[in-house]
Symmetry: C2
Subunit: 282 residues, 2 copies
């Protein structure tokens, strides 16, 4: 083990081609999509990616971590798995880790991952409930919502072009790996979400918008059938073209003069009410 470890390349220059390649992927969503390549940070998320069938092309490990006891066990297992798959492993300096990580306390392992995320089924194969996000820009919110959606048994998440990209490092991290498990797609053609909403209604689905005011109290609505929940941005709500395709609007009654909830909190509340109703029925 120590022999193969000592033979691994050691990276310490920010101008190393691999470091430059990773930085390009971190900052260019179009490049991530075109190459189907992602940057994933931390052993837990990298393991999630592997379990989801993605391939680790290159694993960068802080030398300090690779040489440490304890924390090294997880790292050693990950290194072995990546090399078994034919991926390359390099050691690097803490400085390189900080350069590539977007967390304040990076965990010292960064992977260049390749492959497809779970694909969105065609409309006739969608399993309810599904979730549609319109203009949810904040990547932390998008990731948190994916995590809640996976946990609430959502069949698919559909995002519009105004949402954070699914391959954004903060989306991946906030999703706690759910981005590798929930079928999801960001549809960038104009009108994609209104079109999908219309198709679903045509198939007998309820398409239910979530609004801060004026809708039906969410817990009085039947959420255990074929439903699509639609959530918009906190600042602007659901776009009029999409709201026009909704079959109804839901509202979470709020106390104390509070105007609205964080969108990820609001979506979690309604998705778990739907899960509660389904479990009660089942």
């Amino acid at each position: 083990m120590s022999d193969s470890r000592s033979s691994r390349p050691y990276l310490e220059s920010p101008r190393h081609p691999l470091v430059k390649e990773l930085r390009r992927l971190l900052t260019k969503p179009a490049e991530r999509r075109a190459r189907r390549q992602w940057v994933v940070e931390g052993p837990r998320l990298i393991e999630d990616a592997l379990r989801a069938g993605l391939v680790v092309r290159h694993l960068l490990v802080a030398r300090r971590l690779a040489e440490a006891q304890g924390g090294g066990d997880v790292t050693a297992a990950l290194i072995a798995e990546v090399e078994r798959q034919g991926g390359r492993v390099s050691l690097c300096s803490d400085r390189i880790v900080s350069l590539l990580a977007d967390t304040a306390h990076p965990q010292g392992v960064i992977a260049l991952v390749e492959g497809e995320l779970p694909a969105l089924p065609p409309p006739d194969r969608l399993r309810p409930p599904i979730l549609m996000l319109d203009g949810v820009q904040d990547p932390g919110n998008v990731g948190t919502i994916l995590r809640s959606a996976a946990a609430a048994g959502v069949g698919a998440v559909v995002l519009d072009a105004g949402c954070a990209d699914l391959s954004h490092p903060k989306v991946i991290r906030a999703s706690a790996g759910a981005v590798f498990r929930v079928p999801a797609a960001r549809l960038t053609e104009p009108g994609a979400l209104p079109t999908l909403a219309r198709q679903l209604r045509g198939r007998g689905w309820q398409v239910l918008g979530l609004e801060a005011h004026g809708g039906v109290p969410y817990h009085t609505a039947a959420l255990d059938g074929p439903i699509a929940l639609v959530a918009g941005s906190e600042a602007r709500g659901i776009a009029p073209e999409l709201a026009a395709e909704c079959s109804g609007m839901l509202t979470i009654p709020l106390a104390g003069g509070v105007e609205s909830l964080n969108v990820a909190a609001a979506v979690a509340v309604v998705l778990f009410e739907a899960a509660r109703q389904r479990a009660g029925r089942g």
Copy 2:
């Protein structure tokens, strides 16, 4: 108006005493607490602070904004209100705004605010439900939780020393002003939360811990009586000393092999189930 405006000081040096004072407050929680002074960014949050009875000692306005039409209306109203209260107003450069704001797109208005946040009532005056947070470090999560708590009608939020400080700029922003409305306190003495849990149980309250696994499904528990909900950190859960003082544990059943929810999402789900039960009973 233009006369008084042109007579306002214009700040452009990072070494101006006011800028240095604001930066000190931004980075030193102990100083914020000792001086009961806060830095609040954005017209909406500053208005929330004013409505909650806090005083704006100094308002810094980007000159570009003060001179603009449109956006200037909100700013002009805020400037007038601050000056009516006896607060000082200065104009500043965009560079100074960026230096003091922790958002990527600052709104150009920053206030030095002074006063007390809503105080925690004594244990015999606490109105259920209450929420206890143990080791929730991320200020975005703490702020989002305060926002949900206010909206779900929570009587008070009690945090331990391991939680983000209530006066952290990210807590204030993520709370969307709820930090100025919900009685809340961060109790820093060791054992403060277990002691409070014991006191509440002695008064007939249910103290219910929220755990990722092994508790009673949250929607099957009675949450409409005198209850305190306890949430811990995502990484470590509820501290053993505090868990030992809980009368029971709740769990949100999760689908799809998901291990846990974001703590702010989990807390929102349970708080709104409690609100739903209360509304149904009332």
